[in-house]
Every structure is written in structure tokens, then in C-alpha cells.
Subunit: 388 residues, 2 copies
Amino acid sequence: MSDWREPWLRARERIADLYGRHVGESIDVLPTPALVVDVDALQRNIATMMAALDGQTARLRPHTKVQKSPDIALMQVYAGAIGVTVASVWEAAAMAAADVGDILIANELVPPDRVAAAAALAAHARLTLAVDDARNIDALSAAMTSRGTEADVLVDVDVGMGRCGARSPEEALRLAAQVQAAPGLRLRGVMAYEGHCMLEPDPERRTRLAGRAMDHAASVKELFRAEGLPADTLSMGGTGTYNITGRNPQVTELQAGSYVFMDAFHGNLVPGFEVSLTVLTSVIARHGDTVILDAGRKSIGIDFVLPPMLGHDYVARYYAEEHALFDTDDRFRADIGDRVRLVSGYAPTTVNLHDVLFAVRDDQVVDVWPVFPRGPGHSGFLTSLERG
Amino acid sequence: MSDWREPWLRARERIADLYGRHVGESIDVLPTPALVVDVDALQRNIATMMAALDGQTARLRPHTKVQKSPDIALMQVYAGAIGVTVASVWEAAAMAAADVGDILIANELVPPDRVAAAAALAAHARLTLAVDDARNIDALSAAMTSRGTEADVLVDVDVGMGRCGARSPEEALRLAAQVQAAPGLRLRGVMAYEGHCMLEPDPERRTRLAGRAMDHAASVKELFRAEGLPADTLSMGGTGTYNITGRNPQVTELQAGSYVFMDAFHGNLVPGFEVSLTVLTSVIARHGDTVILDAGRKSIGIDFVLPPMLGHDYVARYYAEEHALFDTDDRFRADIGDRVRLVSGYAPTTVNLHDVLFAVRDDQVVDVWPVFPRGPGHSGFLTSLERG
């Protein structure tokens, strides 16, 4: 491999080779279970989010861990997103290889292989990194310096979720001052994630919780500025809080991602977006009104909400690895061989189970998009970035 | 592609190309999260299961949906398994391509592409299929006839789980008679799965439930014989019931699979096997005694049981997509960059999230085994079987 983008270029070739034959087919003959994206609904969701942010301070930096698809990320950027958010340096590499040039890795990069990969990747894209530890700042600075590259840095601040992030304003300030003094790193502001708000079903309580999280993060950013540190960015928010964080003038970047697909979990939280992603299944058995579909925990994410059928209100009895069981009634006509579409319970864990997104218009496959990188592995970028 | 085995051969090349560089490395430098198999423990588990079945009627036909690894399946066959069980025709194709010659597909093959693939694959391996529907039997018979191939068939009988399978002995008998008369199909007996017993934590109650399931399945097999139909096989059982079903003289084939790896779910059910599969993670943040690991729902299966740490009894606060949170105490010394191993909650859904199994001896990587086929797609076998 001489081109650092090789893993992405190969993935594209591989998916075209394996699944390109299905382009032009009706979804009625697609091998099931298949991950199907309604391109028109997807594009309407992208437009709806851009319209919602029109005139607001917050610009969109969609989290693409949801779809793991550079093809969709490019649509989001063309529609006005300032760049993307990703969960890992390998996801960042795929985005950069596909020409998405401005990438926030919203996760601490700690193991040396990931630190080295970020330093190498910074030669090819504008990277923003999140930090919450002094030793990690030293390691990132040393790697950037030795590669001759630079990256922007946000100090990760815990706003109530209790996961990553500095636990106090004072700790955050110490880290910020360290970043500011570190060669190869450019302090840009604060990152936070109000993940604990996403699980709050009551909209009023969710608004109150998210407000508190935003105020805390914004106050840390103001503390940086009061100390003379450069801090123009506050990046936070998700689809479950986009209508709260996206309208708050303190927030400069919104990380919402799930809005592109919608799923049963987010659909319960926020209105206004369409389900553009479904898992197409076949009925493989029907015994009375019990219907068994060929999708299970190995092909659909059941986190938080058991995936419902599209267009029906039957609740699944359970999801096994390769089966979904629905107790229907005599109004339900599908029999063995018929197709049923499921709405994912949680889109990010659903997409991660598949190799390919079938892009569909009017129930006909118009393109095949790689889900890449799948799996937690480096997918070849470890080697290609070392060399390139 | 001119060789029908091409998808498997290519997968092997791809994994060697991507991950072969790690052979010889210590697991201390392996990119995390990584799926790590202790080869010695794996082989002891294989030997333990063979010893447990020594002298019993039941022969082992391990379910390989657990590991999705032809490499491990071959070890099981070399140790005395009569063949393997798989969940899909694409898994069967991978096993056959890797020279596992006797394969039970323990799931209804309904969509036409899968029926056609099975008919093509039957030219290359002894296939046994499961049926629970008259129209499906016709379709399978027609496909086999047109390809000039044959397959063995078990009638799938519901024994209390309420999923696939004939709902009454009479219905099973009708299906058996139809199979017997169908060209291209050879009736061999009964398949059943007492999945509802696996979720029963109390051993006595589990034994009683499994006993009832076995008696029912065996009585259906005897009914076939009483009607002059050939029925020598009763295939059922899993790791959670191996010490019940494996010792029952009515059962001729045991489908246990999880015993090779063990996981927290099965470890709670049956003693005697070692944890040979772990997910190797890195600590990416530590705030006080809260430790955050870089493995989450996208790299470890949390079904049934939250994955515990190997060698510690801390219970995870939660698993997010890319993070596991543990509240530890001051006895826990790991800090950022250190390695922690997790025991999968449920091995089958864990393995399905990874590209590669790192085979390890004495904490050193000795081989890289593809997890194949991943994802629910045909992975190229649709095309290669049509041509080959």
C-alpha cells in the first residue's frame, strides 16, 4: 500500500464487487436481512436539520458514528455541515480518505497506535482532538511534533454524564493551559456531551437538564477566555437535544447525527424527522399469527427500544440472534417469503452490524455504500498511515 | 470469480494482509479493542466436551454461529465432532469452502436466493436442512432437482420455544411424509431447539424443562418410524443444556457451540469450561475510581449479562457504544493506557462485531483467524455459488 487512503479505496471496490450486482434491483428481490436507506427521506432529513439551525449560532458537525458512511457524510457537508464528528481515529481516517476535510474525534485517543495514527492523519485533514488527561496531552504533542503536524484540541468537560471529561472547571483550565503551551496542539475550546439527557423521556425535564449541562460547559469556556486562552468553540449536543442545544447561543457546534436515519429510540424523543433507514427482512415462518422474521441481534440494534415493524404497531415478543418474533393477528397478511421492514431500535448499533447500505429510491436500489470502517479494528489504516 | 470458494479464500487473504503484522506481537501492544482467543484454553474446552460425550449416544455437531470461524470448526472436527451446525446458508458456504464437509443449517431457508444457494452448495458438501412448511419443502425439492443435487432434511419441531418448528406431531408427520416423497430430499429425522430452557437459571427446573422438550421431540421421531419413515436423527441441545441433552439416549446429535469460548451468560449456567475468549481493551480515562475502557456495544455483546472484567468482580455501570464504565476502588491500579480484559456477556453477538480473532498462546499472537461471514450479507457466495 503506497497511498494512505488505500483501505477506504479498497473497501469501496470490495463493496461494489460484492453488492454492485444489486443496483437496479427492486428491494423485493434483495437478499435479506438488508440495510436499506431511502435516499429521498435521508435528503429531507438533512435539509430539515439545516433549516432548523438556520440563523442560530450553532453550526452542524454531524456525528457520523451513526452511519459510518463517508458517502452520507459528504451529502451532509455539501448541504452545509462544517465538517463531521467521529468516534475513533480509524473512522476519521475513512472520512479524510473520502475527502471530508474537517474532523472532530470526539473521544480520548490514548493507546500509542492511535496517537501515532492521529499525528500522521493530521497531515491530510484538519483534525480536532478531545483531551481530559495531562499525560495524554504530552503524548499527543510529542507525536505531532515528531511528525511535523498539528491538531486543534478541545478540552473534554464532564457535564453530568460521569464518563470522560474533566470533573471540575479548575481541572479543565489546567488542561487548557497545558494544551496552549504544547507544540503541535492548538487550543480551540470545550467539548461536552450531555448523554444523560438523551435517556430522559420527559421533554421539559430534558430541556432543564440540557440547559444545566450547556451552562456548565459554556462557563468553562468563558473561564478559559477570562484567563486569556483562545476558546472560540463549544461543541456538544445530539439528535435527542438538537432543538435545545442547537438554539442555545453559547453552543457553536452541534454534533447531532442520528437525525439522518431516525430510529425508534430517537423517534420517541424528537419529532420532525422521517425514518429513512429500515432493515428489510423476509418472513421465514408463520405459525398461526406468530410471524418469524430473518433479522435478529446480529442484524439490528435492539438497544433501548425493541425494533418495531414499519407501518404496524405489533410489539416484538423477542429478538434472538437470527430471528424476530411478532405475535400479530388476522389483519396481518404477510406469509413465508414476504417482506417486512423493521425500524431500528438504535441506528448506530444497527448499521455497525452490516457491510453495506443499499441506497434506494422508489423501492429500487440506486447505489451501494460501504459501512466503513466496521468493527473496532484499524482496518488497514494503521499500516497505511505509517507509510503514507 | 471462477472458484465457488473464492469469498472464503479472499477473506483469509484480506485478514492476513490487514492483521498478519500482529503475529508474534505481545497482546500488550495489540490495537484495542481486540478479540483474543487463548488457544490452549480453547483446546481444553474442545477436549472437555468430547470427554463429556464419550460413551453417550449423542455425537457432537457444534453450532459454529458462535465463533463464525472455519479455523476453529476444523479443530472441533479433528477432535471428533461429526460435522457442524450453522445458522445460515452463507455460514454453511464458508464452512464447506474451508473443507468442513458435513453441515446442518439449523434454520429455515425460505427466500429464493438462499434456496438456490443451498441447492448449489449441496454439490460440494453434505448438507442437512431444517423445514417446517410444506411450500418450503416443495421449493427446496425443486431447486435440488434442477441442480441435480440432494440434501438431508430434518423436520423442525417446536418443543416449547414457540419460534420455528411444527406445532403438533401430526403437522410434523405430514411434513415428514412430504419430504420422504420429494425428489432431491432425504428424510433423516427431527431437529428441535429447547432455547427456552437456556434462560432458566435454576438447574433443576432447567433439567425438567429440557427433559420435557427431549421427550416431545423423541416421540415425534418415533412417530415417523412407526409410520415407516426413515428417522435416525434427533438433533438438539446447546451448551446450556449439554449435560442434560448430551446424556439422553434419545438425542443423537448435540448442537452445543458456546462451550469453546464460554461467556458470562453460559458460565452462569454450566461449570467445567474455561473462558478462552476475551475482549482486550485499553483504559482511556480514569477519574478517581471511575475507569473508562475503549470497548462498548460496538465491540462486545452485552446480551443477557453485562460483560464483567476478567479477574475482578466490579460490575459495569453501563456500556455505551464505544465505552465501558466501571466504578472500581483503590485496589484497582490500572490507569490510562493500561490493558483490561473483558469476558463477553454473550459470545455469539460479541464475535459477530469483529473482523478477526487473534489466536494467542502465552499472551503472544500466534495466528489471525477471520470471523467469516460477518454481517447478514451473502459476502459473495451468492455469485460464486451461481457460477461454481
